[in-house]
Structure formats: C-alpha cells, structure tokens
C-alpha cells in the first residue's frame, strides 16, 4: 500500500563496491572534513571575559524598580506573590510615614520583600501581574552559592539604586514584552 506520510525510505542491502570496502577513500574524505574544520573560525566564547548578548525575551533575576524621582514603585499589593506559580515571593507591607514621600510613591510600601531564587522558575508572571511597573526580570543571573539561605534575595538585594548610575536598564526587556514576548 502507498505510504500516506511520504516519510518512509527504501532500505537497500546493496553490497559495497571495492573502493568502499577498502575504506581508504572514505577515511581520506573524513580527514579532509576535519582539516577544513581545523582552519575554520572558532565559535568559543571566552566566558568570564566575554558574554553573549541576551534576547529581549531573556528572563533573569528580578529587580524592584524606582520611578524617575527615585521613589519605590512597589505598593506591596501582593499580586506578584499571588501570581507566582512557584510560591517564591513573599513580602510584608508597611504604611508610609510623613516625610517619607521622597522614598515611596504611594501610602503603602513593602518593608520587606523576598524572592527565593531556588523556588523561582523565572516565568515572568510577577512582572505581568504587577500593576505598578515595580518588578521586572533582568539579564542578571543569580550566582551560585554555598547555602540555601543565601538564595533568598532580600529587598536590599533586589531594589535598584537611586542614583542614575545605579539604575538597572530594563528598556530592552520592556520592548520585548511590548512586542508580545513574555
């Protein structure tokens, strides 16, 4: 019967010719291939010195953003923690005192904010859930460490600095999200 998929191949049991049986031509062809590769451009990346550019979709460790006046965006609504499929995020909310308006954008803020990097699956649901533009995934990578405790990233590790040089650029990631990548 005729094949429907058109993928089947006809197997042949033909005997090898004399030149195939002495193997030497095949070996010479193999030697030629390896010699061509010997002079080819190398693909190695010298990792710690050189790094590869990530795509706009890359989801690395998180950053807690500040607005353009240096105030924390996060209002400790807890939507990120709720949306987190791995239950990696936890936080404690606090009320903004008078005189702290330059630190926090709204009346409520997260006094503690922790992400467990061993639980996190870097799905990006937290940044999708965030109504305040406060959390983003960056190109940074959580580094290896010796204890499990060190993988629980606290707020001071996640929050970006106030100074312009301490800000973490997420424009590439933002553009990626806008173009429809998660």
């Amino acid at each position: 019967m005729q094949s429907l998929t058109n993928r089947s191949k006809i197997v042949s049991n033909k005997t090898m010719t004399w030149s195939e049986r002495i193997y030497l031509p095949a070996i010479l062809a193999g030697l030629k291939i390896t010699l061509v590769h010997f002079f080819k451009k190398k693909v190695t990346l010298q990792y710690p010195e050189q790094t590869k550019d990530h795509g706009p979709y890359f989801r690395g460790r998180h950053v807690l953003k500040r607005d353009d006046q240096g105030r924390e965006n996060c209002t400790a609504c807890g939507l990120c923690a709720l949306s987190c499929p791995a239950e990696a995020i936890t936080m404690i909310a606090a009320e903004r005192k008078p005189g702290e308006e330059h630190l926090f954008r709204e009346e409520k803020y997260a006094i503690e904010y922790e992400i467990n990097m061993l639980r996190c699956i870097f799905c990006g649901f937290c940044e999708e859930a965030c109504p305040k533009d406060a959390i983003y995934l960056t190109e940074m990578i959580p580094t290896a460490d010796y204890t499990r405790k060190k993988f629980v990233y606290t707020k001071d590790m996640l929050l970006e600095g106030i100074e312009p040089k301490d800000r973490i650029d997420i424009s590439k990631r933002r553009k990626g999200i806008r173009e429809g990548a998660m």
Binding site: I27, G30, L31, I33, T34, L35, H37, F38, K42, V43
Partner: protein, 344 residues
C-alpha cells in the same frame, strides 16, 4: 674520549627531546582536538596555554597515590616503569643526520648505529607490551585484565604485518641498519624516498603503527565505553602519568621510524645543492631540523586521524590485521622481490 662525551651529550639531548616532545604532544593533542571541533582548547596557563603540560604534570604529581589492596604491589609498580623505559629506549637507533667528521674520525649522528637497528626497534617495542600486560594483570581488576589482553593480542597481531612490510624495505636496502636505510634514500637529489617505491608497504606500516601505539582507531586497550580506563583503570598519580606519557613517547618514536623508513629521514629535496653551499655542522643541523619537521608532521597526522575516525570493533581489528594486512604485506614482499630480480 671526545666520542664518549659526544655520545653522552647526544643521549641526554635525545632523552630530553623525547620528553619535551611527548609533553607538548599532550598539549598539541588537546589543541588539535579543539581546533578540529571548532573550539580553541587550553589557553589559560600562560600565553596560548603554552604552560599547560607543566600544569598537567604538576597535577599528576600532586594526585593521591592509590595502590589497590589486592593488587600485586611489585608488578603494579613495575608495569608503568617498563612501559616508560622501553618507550624511551627505542630512540637510540634513530639517525638524526649524515655522518660527521669530528675529532679526526667519522661520527654518526645517532646514539648507536647498530647493524640490526630495525630489529632492535621491533624487539624493544614488543617489550613494551609487557609494561601494559603486567600492569593490567597486577591491578587485579577485570577491566584492566581485559584491556591488557586486548593490548597484547593487538600488538602481536599487528607486529606480523608490520614486520612483513619492513622486510620489503630491508630487501631494497640490503641492510638492517636504520642509518643505511636512511642514507640509501638520498638518491641524487634527496628525493629517493621509499614511499614512492613502497606505497603499499607504507600504508600497511602506517596502519600497523597506529595499532602498535594503541592510537585511535585501534585504541581498544583503553576503550572507555567498554573497559572504563582499560589497562590503566586502577592507576593513579604519576604511574598513570607514565602510562599516558609512554603512549606519547611511543607516538614520537613511531613517527620517527615512519619518517626514516619511508620518508627519507633527514633527506630533503635539493639537499645536494645545500650540502655544497653550507658547512658540515650547519648541514647536519639543517638535516636534523628537516627530520624533526617530518616527525612533527606525523605526530600531527596521528592526532588528525584520532579526531576523525571512530574506534574499530575488536573482531574488525583482528580481521583487518590477520586477513587483510598480513596477506597484503606478503604480497608486497613478493612484488618487491620480483622487481629486484627483474632489475638485476
């Protein structure tokens, strides 16, 4: 007296040269492997990773020395020692250049110009099996034993074809001395290399050389997929280092033998013109450098083949050795004999 000092100097130079080339063969092997796989290879120890052999050697020395409890302690230590000693002994008969006139007498640029040079090489190389055999047996480990049995079977099988292909060269040269074999390949312009007269013999010898040095595609004695580490499974520290190192020394010696038997040794094209225009010492140095370049090419060739061809199965290995190479080498011998008769 001067002759003895000269020979001792030659021995020491050759010894150090063998070790240096073997050490840098390990580096070259890794670099060649990397380049053929589009990688860069070791490049952290020194510029271009040039100090890598030192780092490797230091690592081998610093490793913990383990001798298995059930192993035969004496033979366990003797194994790598034999391997290394025999590997280094072979270089004694390799001629590095034409005869020199020093101290009022003719001095040949080789440690010992014995008149049975090629037999000596075959004999010492066969002794090398004992190193592997004893080491593998003394380890008291099935993998080691299987590896060493494979090594000895393979070496004995391929020595036959190798010897037969050498017989053809001996017939054309009329001498067993490697010095004579090389000087007879000079011809009028230094291009009367045996490879042009013995192409079949050369291919047989080359394949056998791969088998004798346990290199891929014939590296069954240390076939990782089947035998863990083969005959050196139980070895650690510098004893393992000696086994690995002796393989590279063997590779160097095999390359030297291939170069001198089939590729004219120190002979090079238009060497009669060069000889007329340079001094005797200078000419000897040029010859030695040419010979070294040929050796380095064959070492590269060994590596090139290793990273191209996969390993044979053991029955394929035996079939190739006994049913193909041995009859072919006998045929080659007969053809050579016919031509010698015809020319007379």
């Amino acid at each position: 007296m001067e002759l003895i000092i000269f020979k001792v100097g030659l021995i020491v130079t050759l010894f150090l040269l063998s070790l240096l080339i073997a050490a840098y063969s390990t580096y070259a092997e890794r670099k060649v492997a990397a380049f053929m796989q589009d990688r860069i290879g070791p490049n952290r120890a020194g510029p271009m990773g040039i100090l890598q052999p030192l780092a490797d050697g230091l690592k081998m020395f610093m490793k913990e020395e383990i001798i298995p409890q059930e192993a035969n302690r004496y033979l366990f230590i003797l194994g790598p020692a034999i391997s290394m000693a025999t590997a280094l002994m072979t270089s004694a008969v390799i001629p590095w250049g034409p005869d020199l006139n020093l101290f009022g007498q003719t001095v040949s640029l080789q440690v010992a110009d014995i008149n049975i040079g090629i037999l000596y090489v075959m004999g010492v190389v066969s002794l090398g099996i004992y190193g592997i055999m004893i080491g593998g047996w003394a380890s008291n480990n099935k993998y080691s034993l299987l590896g060493s049995i494979r090594a000895s079977t393979q070496m004995i099988s391929y020595e036959l074809a190798m010897g037969m292909s050498i017989v053809a060269v001996i017939m054309t040269t009329g001498s067993l001395s490697i010095g004579h074999m090389v000087s007879s390949q000079a011809g009028s312009t230094g291009m009367a290399w045996n490879v042009f007269y013995q192409p079949l013999g050369f291919i047989i010898f080359l394949i056998c050389a791969f088998a004798e040095t346990n290199r891929t595609p014939f590296d069954l004695p240390e076939c990782e997929t089947e035998l863990v580490g083969g005959y050196h499974t139980e070895y650690s520290s510098m004893k393992l280092g000696f086994y690995l190192f002796s393989e590279y020394v063997n590779m160097f010696i095999s390359s030297a033998i291939i170069a001198s038997l089939y590729f004219g040794g120190y002979n090079f094209p238009f060497m009669n013109i060069v000889q007329e225009n340079t001094g005797e010492i200078m000419f000897a140095i040029i010859c030695a450098v040419v010979f070294l370049i040929k050796i380095l090419f064959f070492i590269f060739f060994f590596m090139w083949v290793r990273w191209t061809i996969p390993r044979f199965r053991f029955d394929q290995l035996m079939n190739l050795g006994w049913k193909i190479l041995l009859p072919l080498s006998i045929l080659n011998m007969l053809i050579t004999g016919f031509f010698i008769l015809y020319n007379n």
